[in-house]
Amino acid sequence: MSERGEIRLVQGNEACAEAALAAGVRFFAGYPITPSSEIAEIMAVRLPQLGGKFIQMEDEIASMAATIGASLAGVKAMTATSGPGFSLKQENIGYAALAEIPCVVVNVQRIGPSTGMPTSPSQGDVMQSRWGTHGDHPVVVFCPWSVREVYDLTVHSVNVAERLRMPVILLMDEVVAHMREKIEIPPQVETVDRPRPSGDRQDYLPYDDSSDVPPMAAFGDGYRFHVTGLYHGPSGFPTTDPEVADRLIRRLCGKVQRRRQQLALTSAHLVDDAEVLVVAYGAAARSALRAVREARSEGVRAGLLKISTIWPFPQEVLLSLAARVRRVVVVEMNLGQLVLEVERVLKGRAPVQHVGRVDGELVTPEEIRAALEGV
């Protein structure tokens, strides 16, 4: 794979669409909403060229549903939306988590609640991406800070969804989605396919809990199995047995819990001698890195922990870095969401300060520097 890729100037949303195609996505259902529409528009052009299917559904609920339906047919499937649409998708995201249907949901965050101030950037959907659907459920959420990372994390989202048989959320923000950067598009990417059953059709158990990710047949392959949003046993048939119910939900949540460290993607910048650690993600992390560099030129020993896996929260990494600093500054474009997680993990081991912004503007390096330098 030493073959060089093509260097292209691409927009974040474009990188997302191209990466999904490279990862093998062949079905997309969506509903127009800025700032995510480019993804749907590119999919509408590209999918039929590749033998895939694109459909504009009547709303985001339907888009999520169609995405799950297509995935059950054995096709890698994705949908993309933004704020209000993400709210509408929640019930069916929970369905995909319970019924263990792999799919990728892109949410390009815009400021809310409600229609907000279209379509200014925000990072206000951090908690919604974790707890948006009702009930205990597993969640994996990735958050890119550059066009390069949009590409890589989109491929990764598809692969993790397939490997773990679950919905994966790619949480972008308006800045990253609409930004253009030069990136190298690799000639091919590593892809992962969901585990498939190999045994006899008669013996197939779609929710066999002898492994934590049971093999998944496709509709039409002759396995004739049942899929439901009701709690179910290994056969897929509904149950009200408390023991079976408990085992099911613990297995589902365990799929992610057990792989927390593996799933945790972060990068540390200038942290070796840092006294103050900035924690940030997405577009805010770009301003944060600049602020850290500038603060250093003023003699403040600052470092950055840039988080790419929001959920499950990379607590081990944070703990080890925070052990070496005097204080922590969390930067995000909301009034305090991921900071709650940072505080939970640090349990008072270091003072935590929050720099937030909810006026629809990108948080600036100056604001962050004020927090770094003004002790």
């Binding site: 052009v45 559904m57 004739r224 949003g229």
Partner: protein, 270 residues
């Protein structure tokens, strides 16, 4: 017909006298008559008593969220066109929360057959009014008589673009089965409304008697499409028009999208 049932999951959850079993029987006989490959049939349902049918059927079966069966089925059908896709749902599921998906599936003329088990009530949640509860009828949420006017679902889906539309009742089982078979054979969006009794909630509250009394009501109030043509609107007010209401041949979504794929490839090659 037994070969289409997952007998290990019987007995079913439906109350004695419920119309759901009759509709399911008609569907299975229609499938059997067409001799379709059991491995190439997917049945998709929403949430409600009627939607629980999928659990008992030995096909690929998908029990989705309330009202969304047609949206799930649309993705499934597009991704796997060789599958015969059938949607089963209640009047609340398909006409209230799922009403938008219903008209859009009809508009696209996607090759899915939808069977609406119309018991004029929300059965699973114990008897609230549905968009098909007639005006004046009682429901737990219409304790003084329903003020809403009901839909004529068949007219609605026809206007929205369905290419096959029919209605029958659980009294007219043979006709119901024939109509479902025709619907299954139509390539495009097909809709069959099966008027069915819920003796437990709709029947009891409205003093309509036993399940048998409700079937007799269907017998006495059904008029054929042809007979209805020479009747006045007032005469038809409390009647159930049964039979094939609409059938036209038009290209289905899949064949239209196949052309899109060809065109997209041609342009990409240029």
């Amino acid at each position: 017909m037994k070969r289409y049932l997952r007998q290990q999951y019987m007995p079913h959850i439906w109350c004695p006298g419920c119309g759901n079993g009759i509709v399911l029987g008609a569907l299975l006989r229609a499938i059997s008559r067409l001799g379709w490959d059991q491995d190439r049939i997917a049945v998709v349902s929403g949430i409600g008593c009627s939607s629980r049918a999928t659990g008992y059927l030995d096909f690929d079966t998908l029990h989705t969220t309330h009202g969304r069966a047609l949206a799930f089925a649309t993705g499934l059908k597009l991704a796997r066109p060789e599958l015969k896709v059938i949607v089963v749902g209640g009047d609340g599921d398909l006409a209230a929360i799922g009403g938008n998906h219903l008209i859009h599936a009809a508009r696209r003329n996607i090759d899915i057959t939808t069977i609406c088990v119309n018991n004029r009530i929300y059965g699973m949640t114990s008897g609230q009014a549905s968009p098909l509860t007639p005006k004046g009828r009682l429901a737990t949420t219409a304790p003084y008589g329903n003020v809403d006017r009901p839909f004529d679902l068949c007219q609605l889906v026809q206007a929205a673009g369905a290419t096959y539309v029919a209605r029958s009742t659980t009294y007219h089982v043979r006709q119901l089965c024939n109509l479902i078979a025709e619907a299954l054979e139509n390539r495009g969006f097909s809709f069959v409304e099966a008027v069915a009794q819920c003796p437990v909630y709709y029947g009891r509250r409205n003093r309509l008697g036993t399940a048998v009394d409700m079937l007799k009501y269907y017998r006495d109030h059904a008029v054929t499409v042809r007979a209805a043509q020479s009747m006045q609107p007032e005469q038809l007010a409390d009647k159930i028009i049964i039979g094939r209401l609409h059938h036209v041949v038009e290209p289905d979504y899949e064949s239209e999208y196949a052309r899109v794929m060809e065109e997209a490839r041609r342009r990409a090659d240029r």
